[in-house]
Symmetry: C2
Subunit: 150 residues, 2 copies
Amino acid sequence: MLTIGKLSEATGVKVPTIRYYEQIALLPEPERSTGNQRLYGKAAQDRLNFIRHARDLGFPLEAIRELLGLSDDPNRSCAAADQIANRQLRAVNARISRLIALRDELQRMLQQCSCGTIADCRVIEVLGNHEHCAHDHHEGAMAELIPPSM
Amino acid sequence: MLTIGKLSEATGVKVPTIRYYEQIALLPEPERSTGNQRLYGKAAQDRLNFIRHARDLGFPLEAIRELLGLSDDPNRSCAAADQIANRQLRAVNARISRLIALRDELQRMLQQCSCGTIADCRVIEVLGNHEHCAHDHHEGAMAELIPPSM
DNA sequence: TCTTGCAGCTATAGTCGCTAGAGGAATTAG
DNA sequence: CTAATTCCTCTAGCGACTATAGCTGCAAGA
C-alpha cells in the first residue's frame, strides 16, 4: 500500500494532481489509514499510469474518462477507443503542421534582425505588420495551437 | 474612429477579447462617444494587430506586454526583443519534437489495434503500459505540450 | 520521551486566455 | 417610430492544474 507521496513518486504525477483526479472522479476514492491518509494499491497505480500516459499523449481528461469507461467494460467493441485515438491523431497532425509554419516564421524573423535598436528591429516590425509574413497564420483555427505556457 | 465591433472586424480579434485586453491593460482605455461607447483610432488598431499577430505566433500575453513596452522606447537595443523571440522559437521547437513523438506513438497504437473487443485492443494496452512505448515521453517537461483543447 | 520537521489533510483561491451569460442602454435600419 | 442590432458592465465559467493557509499525522534523531 502506497501513500499519496509514494504513488506520486511511482507514477510521476504530482500529489495535488492526484487529489484533483480524485475530486473529479477520474480516480476512485482510495482506502484510508487509521490516521485518515490515503492508501493506494496496485489497481490505483495502474489506473494512474494509464491516465498519466494518456495525458502525455495529449488526450484531454474527458477522452481519458471515456477510455477508462471502455476498458472497464472489456467485452465491448474497441471501435470506440480506436475512434478516440484517430481523432487525437488528426488533432496532433494539425498542430504539428501549424507549429512548423510558425517556427519557420519565427526563424525568418530572427534571421532578419540585425540587432541594432528597437527602431529597426525586425522582430517588432514583423509582428506589427502582417505584410511581412511569409505564411497565412491569419485565417482562424489558429487559436488551437497556442500553448498553455511558454 | 471605429466602434469596438468594427475594430473587431478589422483585426479579427473578438469583441469580448478586446475588452479583456483593455481590462488587463494590454490596450489603453480608449475614448468614448457621448453614449459611452468605445472609439478606436489607427494607433489602437496597430497595437491590436501587433497583439493578434504575436498571439498567432504563440507568444503569451506577458511576453507581448514586454514587447510592447520595448517598442514604446525605440532607441533601446533590440536584443531584448530578440531574446523573447528566441525563447519562443525554442519553445516551439520543443513542442514540435514532442508532438512528432506523440504522433508516431498514436500511429503505432492504431496499427496494432485489431479492432476486435477491448480484451485484445492495443490502444488501451499501450496507454496503460509504458513498456509498449517506442518513445520516451515519460521524462518530465512534457506538460507543456498538452493542448488547450482537442 | 520529546521534539523537530516533513508529509499529509481539507478547503479555497489563483493561473492563463479567453468565452458566455444576464440585464440593460444606445445606435442604426427600415 | 419601431425593431433589430450593437453596445455597455458585471459576473461566472472553462480546462487542468497549482498554490496557499491552517491544520494533523507520523517517523527519526537527541
